[in-house]
């Protein structure tokens, strides 16, 4: 990254997509720096996939502007296609073709010469551990192997910008770790990566992220910034009768959320409440211990979405 003026890979203003009578994406402003891994965090149906489809030129925005790698969308979608890679949520290669045939096909589509294809496929097969599966049909691969094949295909032409739509939804934790190592390798080589997820641990790995809900951006920034800017204090309460305590606390306006984690109750208290720790201690009995703790990204997510959001941003 240039220290003076970081270049933007994606820039949108008021980007919206309307389907019949609801907005799948509503007034989205994004600034994604080149070379970073940027995450879209949000529940299903929050507009992650729709946003990605607009940014890849698959969908025409209903309003707003989007500039991706300097190309204005949707007008310059064709030029953009040579520079981006897209890994769809659902496996979109051909089940009845082998790993090699699939990769060769993708290479041909991107106009790689025969020798360039051969070299690139060898490189990708090595990198993504597909060498021993090269003759196996894609339909017979495991979830993790399919995902590596899809990533290999999406990066065949060494795109500057890579879109990954919930790439790890069908993959076990070990393969997920391994997958993220590859993403950091790509990022290190200068590829900008936009990844959508609903896993907190994945979101935490991103350089920066946007929390989306109902087509709107609720918050964005680096995980650190998001945690620092969170408008809530996080406490852990331990003791007996936690379920009853939980119900009592949820009735309080200052309590954003409560969640039982094993023997403890995690309580988010809004900063609108002065001296939250003193306040919370007054709410619980003396048998309960209250301890302030470091917020996690999940806390940020909870504090920025759902009822908590509506409370702070009344209509």
């Amino acid at each position: 990254m240039s220290p003076i003026q970081p270049e933007l890979a994606i820039e949108t203003q008021g980007l919206s997509k309307r389907f019949q009578n609801y907005f799948a994406v509503n007034q989205l402003d994004l600034q994604i720096q080149k070379g970073t891994i940027y995450g879209f965090l949000g529940p299903n149906g929050c507009g992650k996939s729709t946003t990605i489809r607009m940014l890849t030129g698959l969908l025409t925005p209903s309003a707003g502007s989007a500039k991706v790698l300097g190309y204005q969308l949707p007008e310059q979608a064709d030029e953009l296609r040579l520079k981006i890679g897209y890994m769809t949520q659902k496996f979109s290669l051909y089940d009845n073709l082998s790993v090699l045939e699939n990769l060769d096909f993708v290479g041909q589509i991107y106009g790689l010469t025969r020798s360039a294809r051969k070299a690139r496929i060898a490189e990708l097969a090595e990198l993504y551990h597909l060498n021993d599966k090269i003759k196996v049909r894609a339909g017979a691969l495991s979830g993790g192997q399919k995902q590596r094949l899809a990533l290999a295909a999406a990066t065949m032409h060494q795109p500057q910008l890579l879109f990954l739509d919930e790439p790890t939804s069908a993959v076990d934790p070990e393969n997920r770790r391994e997958f993220w190592e590859r993403l950091f390798d790509l990022s290190d080589q200068g590829t900008t990566i936009l990844v959508s997820t609903h896993y907190m641990d994945e979101a935490e790995r991103c350089h920066a992220l946007a929390i989306l809900e109902q087509g709107q951006k609720r918050a964005d920034g680096t995980p650190k910034q998001l945690i620092a800017q969170m408008h809530a204090a996080v406490f852990e309460v331990s003791g007996d009768n936690l379920r009853q305590l939980r119900n009592a606390l949820m009735a309080r306006e200052s309590v954003i959320s409560t969640a039982q984690i094993g023997e403890r109750l995690r309580v988010l208290v809004s900063l609108d409440q002065p001296q939250p720790e003193v306040w919370l201690k007054a709410q619980v009995s003396t048998e309960h211990q209250v301890e302030q703790t470091r917020p996690s990204l999940e806390d940020v997510f909870v504090a920025n979405t759902g009822a908590a959001y509506v409370q702070r941003h009344p209509l």
């Binding site: 890849t56 698959l58 025409t60 064709d78």
Partner: protein, 377 residues
């Protein structure tokens, strides 16, 4: 759309190779390519037959002379009827027709001998007997009424005297034995190609959409025309293969002549295959699922079987049916392939049909390419 990405033959070829590989892997589809022509040929060639033979008949012979027996033998020798029962009275015979045991009854009156004599001496033209037929099946009764004019080979009659007096002599060109297979087999190519070509192409594209491949494909630099061409060419080969199967089997099993002018055959068949494929492409831009594509194919297929002239003669159709018929590519192909295979016509003799198919392809391709958007919305 900008011109930043030019048409690339390499990309079209990549799609083609991929399509051929998938086709070769898909055993059921591959089997259907061969089995559909084979099964249909058997079905239409053997089962559907308008040459009537061995109509079950009964005999009511009140004359019972040697001459009446000779007449019955002569009739059986024609192979049109086969006498399976003798009756003693008319009631019995009528009952047998009613219950479907026999389709026709020959009634020879007691004065048969006298009627025959007066007829031979040209004293009278009164009939010598009567056929009672089951008129509810016009094909069968029609075949029997053909026997009305049967020449009598009576030893006592003057040689060569034909009691029937035809005004016209009929000479059948191209199919002197009047076998329906000769007419049906070339027409069958039209029906089978209509079915497989439209279905395969429409399903091939809709499948990509259904299985999610399209979402990936349209983010690549591939252009719609490359995708269309890459999808079409493999099926052209499939279509030619099917035509070869039908003509070869038709020749071996039903002695349908092989066309002398192979080049004309190739020209008209390629035109028809392309027309059907473009129709399949247009369907694929409309259908969301493979099931919908199949339903739309049947919508085209049924009129192609019934109205193309494959089953019923074009000239016998009412005028509005003829208009619909003219719209169908199959009609033009049925006409052309019968001309080329059976009448040894040259493709350039058939300019109306060739011209129509060319126009159909041009319009279809334009619609398909325009309608196929590289977008999801």
């Amino acid at each position: 759309m900008s011109n930043a990405i030019r048409f690339s033959a390499a990309r079209a070829i990549a799609i083609m190779i991929k399509e051929l590989r998938q086709l070769a892997r898909d055993r059921i589809t591959f089997a259907m390519i061969v089995m559909i022509p084979f099964a249909q040929l058997m079905l239409f060639g053997y089962a559907i037959n308008t040459d009537v033979r061995h109509v079950p008949a009964g005999l009511l012979d009140f004359a019972a002379t040697s001459q009446s027996r000779t007449l019955v033998q002569d009739l059986e020798a024609s192979q049109v009827v086969q006498f399976i029962r003798r009756f003693d009275d008319l009631k019995q015979a009528e009952a047998a027709i009613t219950n479907g045991e026999v389709a026709a009854v020959l009634y020879l009156p007691a004065d048969f001998e006298r009627r025959l004599l007066t007829r031979e001496l040209q004293l009278s033209t009164a009939p010598i007997g009567q056929w009672i037929t089951d008129g509810s099946d016009p094909v069968l009764s029609g075949a029997v009424s053909g026997l009305r004019q049967m020449p009598l080979s009576d030893p006592r009659a003057v040689q060569g005297v034909d009691t029937s007096s035809a005004v016209f002599e009929i000479v059948n060109y191209f199919n002197p034995e009047k076998r329906s297979a000769v007419n049906i087999v070339p027409g069958l190519i039209a029906v089978i190609l209509t079915m497989t070509m439209i279905l395969f192409t429409s399903a091939a594209i809709v499948r990509e959409r259904e299985q999610g491949n399209m979402e990936f494909l349209i983010t690549t630099p591939i252009r719609p025309i490359e995708l269309m061409l890459g999808k079409i060419v493999p099926y052209i080969l499939v279509g030619l293969l099917q035509m070869g199967i039908i003509l070869t089997l038709g020749n071996r099993l039903f002695a349908v002549p092989l066309p002398v002018d192979l080049f004309s055959l190739l020209v008209i068949t390629l035109l028809f295959i392309l027309a059907s494929l473009t129709l399949g492409l247009v369907i694929s831009t409309q259908a969301q699922t493979q099931l919908q594509a199949m339903q739309m194919t049947i919508f085209i297929l049924l009129p192609s079987i019934l109205l193309s002239g494959f089953m019923f003669p074009f000239s016998a159709m009412p005028e509005p049916a003829q208009w619909i018929s003219e719209l169908l590519p199959a009609t033009h192909y049925v006409r052309m392939i019968r001309a080329v295979v059976l009448r040894e016509a040259h493709w350039s003799d058939l300019h109306f049909d060739v011209g129509y198919l060319l126009g159909f392809i041009a319009v279809g391709m334009t619609i398909a390419t325009l309608r196929f958007k590289k977008r999801l919305d």
